[in-house]
């Protein structure tokens, strides 16, 4: 369970968001510029809130009154960034293995886990490809493999379909939904496209001008 209650004064509006995210996919929809990315960055610890807290599986990651702020590298919260943020100077395997390297996993185990993950996403043949040579759909799979191989305690997806062209998007959407249904951790799926709610029947939020409301 992911629980958050966050306040932050932004330039154009104040950001106020409180909610609970159980295991499985929770959709957050709202127009662009409403604060969707800010919400994810606050949960991941990339941005400090002015007040509030973030609790994941009973562990306080942020608690402003108690002076607690776990840095992003200590949270075990993976983000799938909108443009995927693949490291251009690493090949596919090194990108996917990066989080395991950060956790000082032995080299042989990194190789085995990366191989397994690449096979799961059907991109094993691309292991040594440069990420700059991949198609949009392939880039998304690499980013997703990189985010999941570390077995995160929560997964945050920032407009995961926005960087794809229309034809790829239709195909990838089904694949992504299948992968995410199998991920059994709190998952926030942020999108400006209300259509994504049909894909994930779980709880959903709407965000507008920094104010988060739970949808029925």
């Amino acid at each position: 369970m992911l629980h958050f209650d966050l306040r932050l004064q932004l330039r154009e509006f104040s950001f106020v968001a409180a909610g609970e995210v159980p295991s499985g996919v929770t959709v957050v929809e709202g127009p662009s510029g409403a604060g969707k990315t800010t919400l994810l960055r606050l949960i991941a610890g990339l941005v400090h809130p002015q007040a509030g807290n973030v609790t994941l599986d009973g562990r306080a990651l942020t608690d402003i009154t108690a002076g607690t702020f776990v840095p992003p590298e200590g949270r075990n919260v993976s983000i799938l960034f909108q443009e995927y943020a693949l490291f251009p100077h690493f090949d596919v395997a090194a990108n996917v293995g990066y989080g395991l390297r950060a956790r000082k996993v032995p080299r042989a185990e990194i190789e085995a886990r990366v191989r397994r993950e690449l096979e799961r996403f059907d991109i094993a043949t691309l292991a040594h490809a440069r990420v700059t040579e991949l198609s949009g759909g392939e880039r998304q799979r690499v980013a997703l493999a990189r985010a999941l191989v570390v077995e995160p305690a929560a997964l945050l997806l920032d407009e995961p379909l926005a960087a794809l062209d229309r034809a790829t998007r239709t195909r990838v959407r089904g694949e992504l939904a299948a992968v995410l249904r199998a991920v059994n951790v709190p998952t926030l799926f942020v999108s400006h496209d209300p259509g994504n709610r049909e894909l994930f029947p779980g709880p959903a939020f709407h965000i507008e001008r920094g104010t988060l409301t739970q949808l029925p």
């Binding site: 990339l46 992003p72 590298e73 100077h89 950060a102 956790r103 990189r146 570390v150």
Partner: protein, 255 residues
């Protein structure tokens, strides 16, 4: 037509004297000149001091460049301008300023004197003069290089579990590497050619502060033209290597 002519004149004006210098170079002179102790001392001293000042610049300039590229604080543009200042200050003025600050009777001279350190007219003075005039070339390039690194990649590294230092080492530095290498090479070349600040602050003592450019000057003054030509040819060759390296790294940047 006029444009081509102007370009040709300027290009020739640069190339002809430099290439012409090699016509004055006798192979016989090359061997005899490089066998003399002062020439060997100058070459050795230039290598030691330029790599020392480069090391100091990398050590102190990298954090500074990173801060200037990333942090916003009051007076940032002032610090930015101060860093660039040595590029436009005449080297002789820089040398005088260093002498007045760190010379035996300078502001901080007695402080170092009390510690038994005499900075002016020493090899350390050569390194200080080079660092003073050359470090901006590295800091400017590194600042631009760091500013060009996508911060989302650093955020991705952090959320994947890498702390700030390892993110800097694995993501920021490799992605800024072409700019860092280009800046370091330019900085080293500027140190190698340093003359004005060195002769003012460090003097022209063989084996202590007489680097290659100073040896060129001394040999010309004392009527020993062949040795001056040989040492100049060595400096031109180093410069050529630098120009080729900088162009090679900047080409990689655009790909």
């Amino acid at each position: 037509m006029a444009v081509v002519l102007a370009a040709a004149i300027l290009a020739a004006f640069i190339v002809v004297p430099l290439a012409g210098l090699f016509f004055h170079l006798q192979p016989r002179d090359l061997i005899t000149a490089m066998q003399t102790v002062p020439a060997q001392d100058a070459l050795r001293l230039s290598i030691v001091t330029t790599f020392s000042s480069l090391a100091i610049t990398l050590l102190l300039g990298t954090p500074l460049a990173y801060i200037l590229a990333r942090a916003s604080f009051p007076g940032r543009s002032l610090v930015d301008a101060v860093v660039d200042l040595p590029i436009v200050v005449p080297p002789a003025v820089a040398g005088l300023a260093l002498l007045l600050a760190f010379g035996r009777n300078g502001t901080f001279g007695p402080l170092f004197g009390a510690l038994g350190i005499q900075l002016s007219f020493s090899t350390m003075a050569v390194i200080m003069a080079q660092t003073f005039v050359a470090s901006p070339f590295y800091v400017r390039a590194a600042r631009a290089g760091f500013a060009g690194v996508d911060r989302t990649l650093e955020a991705a590294s952090a959320t994947l579990g890498m702390g700030p230092l390892r993110t800097f080492a694995y993501i920021t530095v490799p992605l800024a590497a072409p700019a860092l290498i280009g800046g370091a090479v330019l900085c080293w070349a500027r140190s190698l050619g340093e003359f004005g600040a060195t002769i003012m602050f460090a003097g022209n003592l063989q084996g202590v502060s007489q680097t290659l450019p100073l040896a060129v000057y001394l040999n010309l003054e004392s009527g020993n033209l062949p040795v001056a030509v040989v040492l100049s040819a060595v400096l031109i060759l180093f410069s050529l290597i630098v120009v080729v390296t900088v162009h090679a790294t900047s080409d990689r940047r655009t790909i």
